[in-house]
Subunit: 497 residues, 2 copies
Amino acid sequence: MTEKEFLALVKEIELLKSTLALSGWDIQTGMPERASEYRAEQNAFLSQLLFERMTGEKMTLAMEYFAKNRVELSELGQKVYDKVKEGYDKKRVIPAEKDEAYNREASKAFTNWIKAREQKDFGLFKDSLANLIAMQKEFITLWRKDEKTPYDVLLNQYEPGMTVEILDEVFGKVREGIMQIRQTIAEKGIEPRVDFLSRKVPKEFQISFAKELSTALGFDFSRGRLDEAVHPFMTGFNYNDARLTSRWNEEDFQMGIFGVLHEQGHGQFEQNVSPDFEYTPLKNTMSMGIHESQSLFQEIMIGSNKSFWKKQYPRFQEICEGRFDDIDFETFFAGLKRSQSSLIRIEADTLTYVLHIIIRYEMEKMMFNENVSVEKLPELWNDKYEEILGIRPQNDLEGILQDVHWTSDFGYFPSYALGYMYASQMKHAMSQTLDFDTLLKCGEYLPIKQWLDENVRVFGASVKPKDVLKNATGEDLNPKYLLEELEKLYFDVYQVG
Amino acid sequence: MTEKEFLALVKEIELLKSTLALSGWDIQTGMPERASEYRAEQNAFLSQLLFERMTGEKMTLAMEYFAKNRVELSELGQKVYDKVKEGYDKKRVIPAEKDEAYNREASKAFTNWIKAREQKDFGLFKDSLANLIAMQKEFITLWRKDEKTPYDVLLNQYEPGMTVEILDEVFGKVREGIMQIRQTIAEKGIEPRVDFLSRKVPKEFQISFAKELSTALGFDFSRGRLDEAVHPFMTGFNYNDARLTSRWNEEDFQMGIFGVLHEQGHGQFEQNVSPDFEYTPLKNTMSMGIHESQSLFQEIMIGSNKSFWKKQYPRFQEICEGRFDDIDFETFFAGLKRSQSSLIRIEADTLTYVLHIIIRYEMEKMMFNENVSVEKLPELWNDKYEEILGIRPQNDLEGILQDVHWTSDFGYFPSYALGYMYASQMKHAMSQTLDFDTLLKCGEYLPIKQWLDENVRVFGASVKPKDVLKNATGEDLNPKYLLEELEKLYFDVYQVG
């Protein structure tokens, strides 16, 4: 076995993964409804080819050979080996037919989720969800090493090293801090005017502005595209093909525009991983939390910054052909950042967003560590919303059916909250050498993009999240930067103190 | 080897083909420009997997085993075997690396064709084209059995049994007949009014009307979709996923609307092949000419019929919100069917279209039977247009760069002209039992769809084109029905006789 042979096998794996990613993108961007059965067969077959390559005889040979003959690998080869070994160990313990069955079930679950949403009836999705959870639980028993709880096993897959123990503590602090800010602005703040936020902005104006912003911030449309999807996402096939999706509402321009700001941050990550890692799993992210930090940096650190909008608001007004000429900048910005309890995560404001994540984290803990039955989930979901945000969903569409994640993935949600904290910490570190606000005021985004490229994105999956954070910011995860950021922003918007 | 094992292998082949088809659709409907290199690698890999299955050890075993033990196969199994054997023999003689190289070259050729179009410069596409022709010529020497000329080998692949000898004769008659009609209307006809054809019709109105028509005619959007592409096409992944594409021009509503009418005819073919043939090559068409007959039936036999527009024009007027209220029906219909020499095939009118095909047929004969060098092709193309249509392209974009076909396929063009003739002959046959004009006048399209489903589409590739034509119409290919159709239509529009 030579390094060249090993890398050729790894390349096949990556090509199959990006083929499945293309299929996944297609499913969510308008695949004909009745095509799903055939597509499930197709994806199962492709997954089987992938599985064979990831765990078959040849890979086993490579894993064993280079475990003993590591020195025969180049430095890059060794990094690839380590990353492949992780995936190998994870896959290897799952029998092929179970892996296939899971993919098939997930494909059906997505279709049922769409139907359930149309009927606002969790009942139509319930069985799929129960099947997926049961299968995941079986996998967890196979994957589990020294993780303290079953849910830790899932957390660890998205955010290496993350545990329920850590999250319970960090989320406790963040929840407490956000509650305090909410209380202060509720007591002393002046509620911003928001009526103008629902003014009709034609979809094509919104798309035009969102694309212009994305391009200015550094997303490269010659290496990406933008489509519509029920649940917006980004998928990167390789560094030259990163695909954004968004949804548009002409009576709520914020949804689409901030959605694109977010997704193009994910896209920038994909586009700026080192090309040396192409055709290897090093082209991926070191963790989902770090990936989220890149989208949230764009959406929150940049997109919620007053200087950013000072520069961009006149352009927005121009594109909107007079529709906002009577709204001055201060009013506009304060309106954008109004905070209010809401039911839908992806429409949540910057202050309450993390609370939505904490609810999902609690739900997933219950599914995996407390074996709660799926029938009870909608009620539990609604109870949590009442407890933490003070409002209760009136139906499943505005409750438990709102997110696509549980049609295939569990343990992902905490990444969003970690992304908030990572992004805040990166902004703090970046501000030691860059005059952040001035750059935004001038619309000079390139130095910010470069900082993120060089300190975070370029490494792909060749480093650990903990290390990249430490190297980039000089310290370990520290939730205080997020709380400082939120306090500064919301005390300004609500004119407190 | 059992039938079940054989069919499982065949299913894998079909799943890989539809995966490549998805990738191909994606390339032409907005894949990021810079993604083409990666995609070429991806397609080469998938093609290699396909090639292995189509020609590898297991398939060879199946081919040999069932050649001797045919009786062990069911009736369907035997049909599948025969079809697979055709493909096996075709592929088997091409070495794997040459097949791969061709796919890679074709992928690059498409990118270069796009660039060449932007610059209106054939020079940017020339080398790719030369490479493809050279590779095809090599393949032809490997494929050739008793075909009289190299080009016959290519013709035969799209239209089994078709030859240069037959086409020279049939095209001679058709060209002569069309020339006579053109001369008559030029001498005695009254030129229709056409100024209103360039009235601005917003794209969304056009899409809305085109979708409504397609649905009424029998295309099922729950098993298909409509997208934009530079060069419109239809691709069918399976009978539940047939994808149309079109391009839109707000100053030329005919382009998009007739384009969709055409493509949804292809789509109807795909959607109505017997579901029994799913996951086998029998789900495909018996020939490209027959497939084209289904699109041209919709575009010409229905879409150029006066009774059809008598019914649909009021609805078109309504969707266009008053833009055509001053144009009476006779004026509108005559304008639609005006005939005029033009440079672009897909914008050509019904009378001159086949002449565009005859030019391409002559060009392909020169490429493969006369070994003309690629440098000379643009000049030769322009000369042909001057000779046959009396007009000369001023640049390569309105000349030789207009069609996507030569980025991968040669020998396909004659199928369009065959499609015209087949469609006319089918309409003649259908009219023996159906009152065609009355059905169109009433907007009752279902009996027409059913006739085509039952007599043509349902068979997929399980029959020969010659047989399906004979069974459906009672006779062999006869070009007189096309000429009768054209004469009737154009003498009416030009008020001759």
